[in-house]
C-alpha cells in the first residue's frame, strides 16, 4: 500500500498536492543553504581581509558566524532532512502524512524563526553558546515547531498501514523526539536571565546556568545536536535511498539494530570531549572519551551495512546522481568518524584542541557528509514527487563537483593549519605569532568556500527551473527510472 493509492480514497485532493509539505520544506531549505553559505563567504573573506566591510556592526565577523552556523544547521540541513522525512515516512508507513496542513504551517513558522534568528543575531542579541545562539524567546518558538513536527511524524507512524517498521523509521522517530529534548536541556530554557532582569541592558534572555557546569550543559547539547539529530536524520535518508535506488534489500537487519541502539547510547555520552582540558569532573571526561571510541560501533555497522548493500551495484553511481551524492557522503562520514574518536583522546586532543583542525572537522561532518546526503535526497525526491525530470543534469554534476572539491579545500586547508597552530602552541609560541600563519590557509578556505556558495546557487537555480519547466515525466518507464534515481 502506497500513498499513491491513498488519494483515490479522497483523502488527498489532487495528485500535485501529494508530498507538497515535503517539497515546501525542501524548497525553503535550498534557499537557506544559499543564504547560509553566502554569510559564510562574507565571514571567510573577513578572516583574510579583516577591514573588508570593517566597522559595519551587523556584518561583523562575530555576528556573521553564528548566522552562518544557524542558517546551515537549523535552516538548511534540518529543513532538508525534515522535508525528506515528510516524503520517506508516508512511503514507509503506507499512508499520507498525518496532517499535511500542520506540516506546512510548521514550515512557515520555522522560516519565521529563521528570519528572526538572522535579525536578532545581526543586531547583536546572542546567547553566545555555540550552536545555541538564538535568544530565549526564539528558543520557545523553536521548541513549539519541533514539538509540532514530532507530533506530526509520530502520529503518522502510529496510524500507519504498513505494520513493520523499517530502520529509517526508527531513526526518524528517534531524531524528532531527541531534538526537542536535547534543545530544551542544552539551552537551559527554564533559566532565561543573565544578571539582574530589572537592570537595563542586563536582560539578554540567555538561557544558562552559573559556574563551570554551564559549559557541561552547553557541550552535551552541542554534540548531541550533531549526534542525535543531524547524524541520525542523515542516516535515515541513506538507509532509505540506497536500498530504494539500487533495488536491493538492506544487507543486515541485525546490524541496523546494533547501529540504532548503540548510537543512542554512545552519542549521548560524548559531549564533554569538547572541553576535555577544563577543570570539570574527571569522570565526565572519561565517559566522553569512552563514548567517543564506542562510536566506532554504530558507525562501522552502518557503513558496513550500506556498503555491503552496494555489492554488485557500484556501477549505479554513474547513472544515479542521488546515489553519487549519498555514497560520497558515506565516505566522508567514515573519515569524520575516524577523526572523531581520535580527537576525543587526551593525547591527540592536546595538539588539536582550540585550533582550526576542529573547524575543518565540523565542516567534514556537516558539509562533506550531511550536506551531500541532503542534496542527494533532494535530487531524488523532487523529480519523483513532482513528476518532472531534473532541468539540467549537467548543472547538477557541476554542483556535485563544486561542493565536493570546495569542501575538500576548506577541510584540508583548515586541518593543515590546525596542526601547525597546535604544534606551535605546544612549543610555547604566543597566539599573536601563530595568527600570521593562518592567513594563506584562510585564503584557500575562502576560495573553497566560494565554490560551495556557487554550488548552493546552482542547486537553487536548477531546482527552481525543474519546478517551473523541468521536462514532465509521462511514460511509466520514465517514472520507474525516476524511482531508481535515474
Amino acid at each position: 500500500m502506497t500513498a499513491t493509492q491513498e488519494y483515490s480514497t479522497g483523502r488527498v485532493a489532487t495528485y500535485t498536492e501529494e508530498y507538497s509539505a515535503s517539497r515546501a520544506w525542501i524548497y525553503s531549505s535550498i534557499i537557506w543553504l544559499a543564504i547560509g553559505t553566502s554569510f559564510a563567504l562574507i565571514a571567510a573573506t573577513e578572516m583574510v581581509s579583516p577591514d573588508f566591510l570593517g566597522g559595519i556592526s551587523y556584518l561583523e565577523f562575530g555576528r556573521i558566524r553564528p548566522i552562518h552556523v544557524n542558517s546551515v544547521t537549523y535552516f538548511w540541513l534540518s529543513m532538508a532532512n525534515i522535508g525528506a522525512f515528510y516524503y520517506i515516512v508516508p512511503k514507509l508507513t503506507g499512508r499520507p502524512i498525518w496532517s499535511e496542513q500542520l506540516a506546512k504551517v510548521s514550515m512557515w513558522l520555522w522560516n519565521i524563526v529563521g528570519i528572526l534568528m538572522v535579525l536578532t543575531l545581526a543586531a547583536g542579541f546572542s546567547q553566545a553558546r555555540e550552536y545555541a545562539e538564538m535568544i530565549w524567546p526564539l528558543d520557545i518558538f523553536v521548541m513549539i515547531v519541533l514539538l509540532l513536527n514530532a507530533l506530526n511524524i509520530l502520529m503518522t507512524v502510529y496510524k500507519r498501514r504498513e505494520k513493520k517498521l523499517y530502520v529509517s523509521i526508527w531513526y526518524i522517530m528517534g531524531s524528532v523526539v531527541w531534538l526537542p529534548m536535547v534543545y530544551a536541556i542544552g539551552n537551559v530554557i527554564w533559566s532565561p536571565f543573565v544578571g539582574n532582569p530589572s537592570e537595563p541592558n542586563q536582560n539578554l534572555f540567555s538561557g544558562s546556568l552559573a559556574g563551570i557546569n554551564d559549559a557541561t550543559w552547553n557541550w552535551f547539547y552541542g554534540h548531541n545536536i550533531l549526534g542525535l539529530w543531524f547524524t541520525t536524520g542523515g542516516v535515515a535518508l541513506v538507509y532509505y535511498l540506497v536500498p530504494v535506488i539500487t533495488k536491493t534489500p538492506i544487507y543486515s537487519h541485525l546490524m541496523s539494530m546494533i547501529g540504532f541502539w548503540s548510537i543512542s547510547l554512545f552519542y549521548s555520552m560524548v559531549g564533554q570531549h569538547h572541553i576535555l582540558s577544563t577543570p570539570t569532573p574527571g569522570y565526565l571526561k572519561l565517559i566522553a572519551t569512552m563514548g567517543s571510541i564506542g562510536m566506532f560501533i554504530p558507525v562501522l555497522t552502518f557503513l558496513t551495512n550500506i556498503w555491503m548493500t552496494m555489492r554488485g551495484n557500484w556501477g549505479r553511481i554513474y547513472a544515479s546522481l542521488p546515489l553519487k551524492f549519498v555514497l560520497v557522503g558515506t565516505v566522508f562520514y567514515f573519515i569524520t568518524c575516524v577523526q572523531g574518536p581520535f580527537q576525543a583522546v587526551q593525547s591527540f586532543n592536546r595538539l588539536i584542541h582550540f585550533t582550526n583542525w576542529i573547524v575543518g572537522h565540523a565542516h567534514l561532518a556537516l558539509l562533506g557528509t550531511m550536506t551531500t546526503w541532503a542534496m542527494g535526497a533532494i535530487y531524488y525526491i523532487i523529480p519523483v514527487t513532482l513528476k518532472r525530470r531534473i532541468y539540467s543534469p549537467g548543472l547538477a554534476e557541476i554542483q556535485f563537483w563544486m561542493v565536493v572539491s570546495g569542501f575538500l579545500l576548506i577541510m584540508i586547508s583548515l586541518q593543515v593549519v590546525g596542526l601547525i597552530q597546535g604544534a606551535e602552541w605546544l612549543r610555547g609560541e604566543p597566539v599573536y605569532k601563530t595568527v600570521q600563519d593562518l592567513k594563506p590557509y584562510f585564503a584557500v578556505r575562502a576560495i573553497g568556500g566560494s565554490m560551495v556558495v556557487v554550488s548552493a546557487y546552482i542547486q537553487a537555480y536548477n531546482i527552481y527551473k525543474t519546478v517551473r519547466s523541468g521536462p514532465r515525466i509521462q511514460t511509466q518507464m520514465e517514472q520507474s527510472l525516476a524511482e531508481v534515481g535515474g
Binding site: 547583536g124 557546569n213 554551564d214 547510547l265 570539570t280
Partner: protein, 371 residues
C-alpha cells in the same frame, strides 16, 4: 528483538535521558566548586560589557581558559594561570570558547592600559599590525567603557591588582609628562633598574642588523610610533602620554640601549607600550634598538641601500658624544667586518684552542680581525 512503535520510542527516550542524567545531571548535583582566590562577582558595568562581548561573538575567537600545557596563551609569562573550576562560580553563561584564533583572554585584565584597548577596539591593526580581529569602531562611548571595564576584569582579583598597579604608575608617568619633556625622560629612566641603564647593544650595528631592525619596526611599531617614527601613528591620538618620538635627538641621547631593551622586553609601565618579550627574540630586540638610532637622521626615509651604520646617531658630528649617563653608542669597532669571519677576530675568540682545528683561518689579516 521486535522493533515496535513503543519499543523504538520508549527505548530511544529512556536511553538518552538516562545517559544525560548520569552525565550532566549527576555532575551538576554533585560538583559545586567553591570560589577560587581570584574569583569575584562582576560589577554592573562589567556585566554590561560582558553582554557586549557575548553579543558580538568575541567567544568565537577568544578562549577564556588556560590548559596546563598553555604557558604562553594568556598575557605571556606575565600572567599565565591555569584555569580552576572556582574561577567561574560567579559567571552566568560560560564563555570558555572552543577556538583560539586570537589570544586567550582569561588573564587579560591589567595587561594593557585602557588607552591601548581604546585604540585596539577602534582598529586592532593600529596596535597589533598582524591581527585579523574585526574593527569594533561601532562600539563607542559608554558601551566602549563597559566593554573595556569587562576586559580589565578578566582574571578576577589578580587582574584587579594588575589594574591598580597600572593606574598608579600611569599617574606618576602623567605627572612628569604634564610638567616637561625633560621630566618625562628622567621619570621613565628612573623606572629602569640601574644595572640595565649602562647596557650597550649586544648586537653590533651592522648594515644587516639595521635592515632587520627596520623590518621589525615597520611591521610592529608604526601603528603608534608612526611611519616616520615621529609618534604620529593612527593609534597615537588614543594614548597619553604620546608614544615616543624617535626623531627627537634629546630622547635618543637620554635613553641608553639597555633602557630601550627593558621597555621592549617588559613594556613601559604607565604608558601604552606593551611587552614584546614574548614575540621578539633577543636578536630582534637589539636589531630594532640599533635601528632606532638611525631614525633622527632619516633611517625610515632613506632607501634601504643607504641604511648604513653611518646614519646612526653616534656618528653625527653634533650629537655623537651623547649625554652623560645616556646614549654613548656602541664600542668603536670595525664590527661590519666581524661578521665576515668571527674566527679571525681576537676579541671574539682570544683563545685559538677553541677554534676548529685549533688555528685561525689561513686568510685572516693579522691585527684587523677580518679576512
Amino acid at each position: 528483538m521486535k522493533m515496535t512503535f513503543g519499543t523504538v520510542l520508549a527505548g530511544a527516550v529512556l536511553i538518552v535521558i538516562t545517559v544525560v542524567f548520569m552525565t550532566v545531571g549527576v555532575s551538576t548535583l554533585t560538583f559545586q566548586p567553591l570560589p577560587s582566590n581570584a574569583a569575584r562577582p562582576l560589577t554592573d558595568q562589567e556585566e554590561r560589557g560582558r553582554q557586549i562581548y557575548m553579543g558580538n561573538g568575541c567567544v568565537y575567537c577568544h578562549t577564556q581558559y588556560v590548559r596546563p600545557q598553555d604557558w604562553n596563551a594568556a598575557g605571556g609569562a606575565k600572567a599565565s594561570r591555569v584555569a580552576q573550576a572556582g574561577d567561574y562560580v560567579f559567571q552566568k553563561t560560560m564563555l570558555l570558547g572552543t577556538e583560539r584564533t586570537g589570544p586567550d583572554l582569561s588573564q587579560e585584565g591589567g595587561i594593557h592600559p585602557d588607552d591601548w584597548h581604546r585604540a585596539h577596539f577602534t582598529n586592532p591593526r593600529y596596535v597589533s599590525p598582524n591581527s585579523i580581529m574585526p574593527q569594533f569602531s561601532f562600539i563607542q562611548g559608554r558601551e566602549l567603557d563597559d566593554l573595556i571595564a569587562y576586559v580589565q576584569s578578566l582574571g578576577g582579583k589578580a587582574a584587579d591588582a594588575r589594574v591598580a598597579q597600572l593606574k598608579a604608575t600611569q599617574d606618576t608617568v602623567m605627572k612628569a609628562w604634564n610638567t616637561s619633556y625633560e621630566d618625562h625622560l628622567a621619570q621613565i629612566k628612573s623606572m629602569v633598574p640601574p644595572s640595565w641603564k649602562d647596557l650597550k647593544s649586544a648586537v653590533p650595528p651592522t648594515t644587516r642588523s639595521l635592515l632587520h631592525g627596520k623590518q621589525i619596526f615597520t611591521t610592529n611599531c608604526i601603528g603608534c610610533h608612526g611611519q616616520y617614527g615621529d609618534s604620529r601613528g593612527p593609534a597615537s591620538p588614543f594614548m597619553k602620554p604620546d608614544p615616543a618620538n624617535f626623531t627627537r635627538p634629546e630622547l635618543q641621547l637620554a635613553a641608553s640601549d639597555g633602557q630601550y631593551y627593558q621597555y621592549l622586553l617588559f613594556g613601559l609601565p604607565g604608558t601604552s607600550m606593551p611587552a614584546w618579550g614574548d614575540y621578539l627574540t633577543v636578536q630582534d630586540i637589539w636589531d630594532v634598538i640599533n635601528f632606532l638610532r638611525t631614525i633622527p637622521k632619516g633611517g625610515l626615509v632613506v632607501p634601504d641601500d643607504q641604511l648604513t651604520p653611518a646614519l646612526m646617531l653616534q656618528n653625527d658630528p653634533v650629537y655623537g658624544k651623547g649625554a652623560p649617563g645616556g646614549y654613548q653608542g656602541p664600542e668603536p669597532s670595525n664590527s661590519d667586518k666581524i661578521l665576515d669571519d668571527p674566527y679571525c677576530d681576537e676579541k671574539i675568540f682570544p683563545d685559538v684552542s677553541v677554534l676548529p682545528g685549533g688555528v685561525r683561518p689561513a686568510d685572516c689579516q693579522v691585527g684587523t680581525g677580518s679576512k
